[in-house]
């Protein structure tokens, strides 16, 4: 018995230490301790899982991939087919009708669940692509300096001088028109995503550039230069890992904003320009089609999709705030 314990201890002492892994474990522990961040994480993960489920197993709602065309057929038995008015939430007709129906006898609950895939999927793509482009532009122009740096910063200035939503509307319409003229077939949502990526990367370029400038004068970069490391190698192996954690915080905060912008663009009626079916399950679109019943005081087609949107944006925001507290080395211990 004695010997086994001593062997075990001996092995533990000789185990190689991994400072990066230990640091990550430490960070994870801090996140788990932070209750607010955990709440945000749980909300976000729930949404993500629901969205992923729609990709992995599209029939989980009970209806396959053609959910747009199949949903209106889900009327409870005995409903006259000519009736298109929304019906209020009820628990009587099964879970599809818990949140009532909207235009065209379109049950809200499955429609909302189906819309998470489009909203979350596209905003992830937009934010991640924008972040990658922004990181490369920001770190390289910050580290190399000179003419290109000045040019890049003036370009970001221009992007910053126009209200984001106005620019998104303009880019989406003009891109869609000019691609249509060139007979380039593009899916409407991809087009919005492309327009948003074009105008989203400057945020990351600015953020990473400012961090790069402060990292550039630090000792470890000096050491790397002295040991003969090239400038490109310096940026890729030393600067980029250093900017990742603030970028990660920014990504989590931006995910919420992008979902909002995406829904707002749909709401403003750009769906007609980018040629998207008006019944497409997308949270902004669901609110838009519910707006027709505002005058009669039917609250659920507007209110319920909005609450779903709100819970997600609040969740991702508190997660981002918590992450900032945890990843900020000054506030850490």
């Amino acid at each position: 018995m004695q010997t086994t314990i001593s062997i075990f201890k001996k092995g533990a002492v000789q185990r190689k230490r991994h400072p990066k892994v230990e640091d990550m474990i430490e960070t994870l522990k801090l996140i788990i301790k932070n209750k607010v961040a955990m709440t945000g994480l749980v909300i976000t993960m729930t949404y993500m899982i629901l969205a992923l489920l729609d990709v992995i197993y599209p029939a989980y709602l009970g209806y396959g991939p053609n959910i747009i065309t199949s949903l209106p057929q889900l009327l409870p038995p005995g409903t006259p087919l000519g009736e298109q008015l929304p019906t209020p939430p009820t628990f009587a007709n099964g879970w599809h009708y818990w949140f009532g129906t909207t235009v065209g006898a379109y049950p809200l609950f499955p429609a909302i669940l189906a819309s998470l895939r489009i909203d979350l999927g596209y905003s992830l793509v937009i934010v991640l692509t924008g972040a990658i482009v922004g990181i490369f532009v920001g770190t390289f122009s910050g580290y190399f300096g000179g003419f290109w740096d000045e040019l890049m910063m003036r370009i970001t200035d221009v992007f910053y001088s126009i209200p984001f939503l106005v620019m998104a509307i303009a880019f989406t319409t003009i891109l869609s028109y000019s691609l249509l003229q060139d007979h380039v077939p593009v899916n409407g949502f991809n087009l919005v995503a492309l327009a948003l990526i074009i105008i989203w990367w400057p945020t990351y370029a600015r953020l990473t550039r400012s961090i790069t400038l402060s990292l550039k004068s630090s000792r470890f970069i000096e050491a790397a230069v002295a040991s003969g490391s090239s400038r490109i190698r310096n940026v890729v192996t030393h600067i980029i890992p250093g900017v990742l954690s603030p970028v990660f915080v920014q990504i989590s905060l931006d995910l919420g904003s992008i979902v909002l912008v995406f829904a707002t663009l749909e709401f403003l009626g750009l769906g007609a320009i980018i040629q998207i079916n008006s019944y497409t399950p997308e949270l902004g679109n669901l609110i838009t089609i519910g707006q027709a019943y505002l005058v009669t005081g039917d609250w659920w087609p507007i209110f319920i999709p909005g609450v779903f949107l709100l819970i997600f944006t609040v969740g991702i925001n508190i997660f981002g705030d918590g992450m900032r507290d945890v990843l900020d080395p000054k506030m850490r211990r």
């Binding site: 939503l165 106005v166 000019s178």
Partner: protein, 360 residues
């Protein structure tokens, strides 16, 4: 460096940004086939002779046949002469610059009201919350600002309409109007010419200027819900920032000194903490106005208000068969950019004036 030189430098920095803005709209316009741009300029309902004249105008405006840098130069000169092209939509038809002239004042009115309302609420509320960190009031304020910061503006506008709207919500006939600006539809009013009030084009201010107080009240009633919608997100952002500033400043050494030398607590709060805590909040206003101008588009669309946001949206979706009005899009972008650039300029100068340490 003196403040004077700082302002001059700041104005000079504006020039490359403005040129960049012009270049961007130029590139956006040139992404469209030239024939469509010409067709866009010409009023298709005019007589053939008129159309031929307008076509020539469009060709001159675009500088067709010249090299691209020359075209860009012509574009800038045209804009400096106030020629932004024409647009034809259900909402407005005619030269873009006239449309902007007519509708910009209302957007400014809406923006100014919103900023005033949110600043007036945010400063006392932020002081109150920030002076009691980690209490019930503080948590309530933080939850409030978190929720409203993350709330979609269009949804908030619709919910406010559902709750307070006239003949919609529980208030019934006593609710607030949900569409329009309150222009009288039947009676004739002297200072309203062609559906736009004179001289400032802002109905509330004009009716006060002319002493027509019942109309001013109607105009104010129509402003309540849009201003409330827009100010919520700004208020949330400001509140967050002021609270953080208050908590930060309260931990400074000079606050301890002030307390130690026996300054009354009220004076410490008002003179020592709040004055310093509000300083950085000035910088956020520029950022918040950028978000606000985006929100203006949404709110003007939902409440059917006649402002710049509605004009820009009309150029995109407001025509029969979605005939996009490219000059309208480019012109409104330019003016939104102009408002934002001027706001940032004012914010920077005010900040430099308030904090003598800041000279970039």
């Amino acid at each position: 460096m003196e403040l004077k030189y700082y302002i001059i430098r700041r104005l000079l920095i504006l020039i490359p940004t403005a040129l960049g803005l012009l270049l961007m709209t130029f590139i956006l316009l040139r992404a469209i086939p030239v024939s469509d741009l010409i067709a866009n300029y010409v009023n298709q309902r005019a007589s053939p002779a008129q159309r031929a004249i307008e076509k020539q105008q469009a060709i001159a405006l675009l500088g067709i046949g010249q090299p691209l840098p020359e075209q860009f130069y012509i574009y800038i000169v045209d804009i400096l002469h106030g020629n932004l092209g024409n647009m034809y939509s259900n909402f407005y038809s005619g030269p873009v610059i006239v449309g902007i002239e007519d509708y910009l004042p209302f957007t400014l009115e809406l923006t100014i009201f919103t900023v005033i309302v949110s600043v007036l609420i945010a400063i006392p509320l932020g002081t109150f919350i920030g002076s009691r960190p980690n209490t019930v009031a503080d948590s309530t304020g933080r939850v409030f600002s978190l929720i409203f910061f993350a709330m979609p503006i269009f949804w908030l506008a619709l919910v406010l309409q559902l709750v307070f709207g006239k003949n919609i919500g529980p208030l019934g006939a006593y609710g607030l109007p949900i569409s329009g600006q309150g222009y009288p539809s039947t009676q004739q009013v002297g200072f309203i010419v062609n559906g736009v009030s004179q001289p400032t084009h802002m109905l509330f201010i004009d009716s006060v200027l002319h002493g027509d107080f019942p109309l001013a009240l109607v105009a104010l009633e129509h402003l309540i819900l849009p201003v409330l919608t827009l100010s919520m997100s700004i208020l949330a952002g400001l509140l967050r920032f002021i609270r953080a500033g208050m908590v930060d400043t309260a931990n400074q050494e000079y606050i301890k000194t002030a307390r130690a030398k026996g300054v009354p607590e009220k004076m410490v709060l008002k003179k020592h903490i709040r004055k310093n805590a509000l300083l950085p909040s000035v910088t956020v206003i520029g950022l918040l106005v950028a978000g606000l101008l985006g929100g203006v588009v949404v709110v003007e669309d939902i409440f059917k208000l006649e402002g710049l946001g509605r004009l820009s949206l009309a150029a995109v979706v407001g025509t029969v068969g979605n005939n996009i009005q490219f000059y309208g899009v480019a012109g409104t972008i330019l003016f939104f950019g102009l408002i934002l650039m001027l706001t940032n300029l004012i914010v920077d100068v005010v900040y430099a004036f308030l904090d003598p340490r800041i000279r970039y």
